[in-house]
Symmetry: C2
């Protein structure tokens, strides 16, 4: 008998990668339970986009958990320092939120245990975001080992799998896969510097990565931009 | 040259164990940064006790982070089901909050990274709480490995140590050590069923463990109880 897909928890950020990750989880037949985080991020529209993706892919339950990461300080994305307009090169960028994926995966782990879920999906990607230590395979493998020692389910023989299907994909490949599976990329948020109307800048490192991915995939980005350079 | 104690993050719950853990961290010369969690627990007095302990041991900063664990469901301590009045025996008790220590340690990890802390202390104890999977050495070791792959500091060669000095101590030993180091056990919260005035019941599993520890240590519990059986 083949493995029957069980319930899955899918972390959603409102961005392109986690939307594609959800599409993949749903395409594998998992009963998806989506989880987004209200963590003090600057761009609240991310949460609206996450809810739209959850609805589009038929999530059984979509939940938003409040966790006050901004209280820890240390990141441009939660209010400390300026969000960069240019690429920081090889260094870990200032938009890195300390231990964010460890916190989000731990909360996903808690829900997975309550649900009896078999899989916990995260849209982590180590190709285009190699500057974030918590997006690498070694981290995710260590998290999985820890997770199965942390919980009742793991210690009683129902291990949880940490799934990162986008881990080794480039941006263009993610976009192509998402398009195949019906992701509405118009309803995904990317920009670090949207204007008052929510239009993306098209110039920040995050927008450039997105636009480069669409260009490489030979596809049009359905998003409207403040200006296209 | 001997190892000079660096900054430490100390998780505080308002209970006896974490208060003693803080006393130990402070006695080792660490600059202690204490972290408590507002996670939807039933007994808000825990947070007041945590703040008292932080002040008593000269914490540099005491912070309370909101994280809505109750939204995940699954525990008697955050509102699902009844908190037991008797000991559940060998099974994992219903007061277990799914993945709680993984979530709390992950948030502590985030703050430790922002502070450049060398140590993260938790009052976990595997002797008297062996029913909680996330209080065991194997879990804490796996967490430490994961933590040092999750962060900028860990990957750049400043590993964080997860410290659980109470891990193998019985309740009586914890109480004796705490007394030696000046812990005010009157300002620690234990009871699952305090009355409207905040008086402990003296009968729930948590109170029994506490009273048994004081009895074994040959010391008087300074706490007032609803009744002493």
């Amino acid at each position: 008998m083949r493995h029957k897909p069980g319930a899955a928890v899918v972390l959603l950020s409102g961005g392109m990668d986690s939307a594609t990750c959800l599409a993949i989880a749903a395409s594998q037949g998992h009963a998806c339970h989506t989880l987004a985080f209200d963590y003090g991020q600057r761009h609240r529209v991310e949460l609206e986009m996450a809810a739209r993706q959850a609805k589009a892919f038929g999530a059984r339950v979509h939940r938003v958990i409040r966790v006050d990461l901004a209280a820890l300080g240390g990141s441009a994305l939660t209010g400390d320092g300026e969000v960069p307009r240019r690429d920081p090169g090889d260094r870990i960028p200032p938009t890195y939120v300390p231990a964010r994926n460890a916190v989000f995966l731990s909360l996903g782990l808690g829900w997975a245990e309550v649900l009896g879920a078999s899989d916990l999906f995260i849209g982590a990607n180590q190709v285009d975001y190699s500057g974030y230590p918590d997006c690498r395979r070694a981290f995710l493998e260590a998290f999985e080992r820890m997770a199965n020692l942390a919980t009742r389910a793991g210690t009683e023989g129902q291990p949880l799998r940490i799934r990162a299907p986008l881990l080794d994909m480039g941006k263009a490949a993610i976009i192509r896969r998402g398009m195949e599976l019906g992701v509405d990329f118009k309803s995904t948020h990317t920009c670090y510097h949207p204007d008052a109307q929510g239009l993306a800048c098209g110039l920040c490192p995050s927008c450039r990565l997105r636009l480069g991915g669409f260009a490489e995939a030979g596809l049009d980005d359905p998003l409207a931009y403040q200006r296209l350079s």
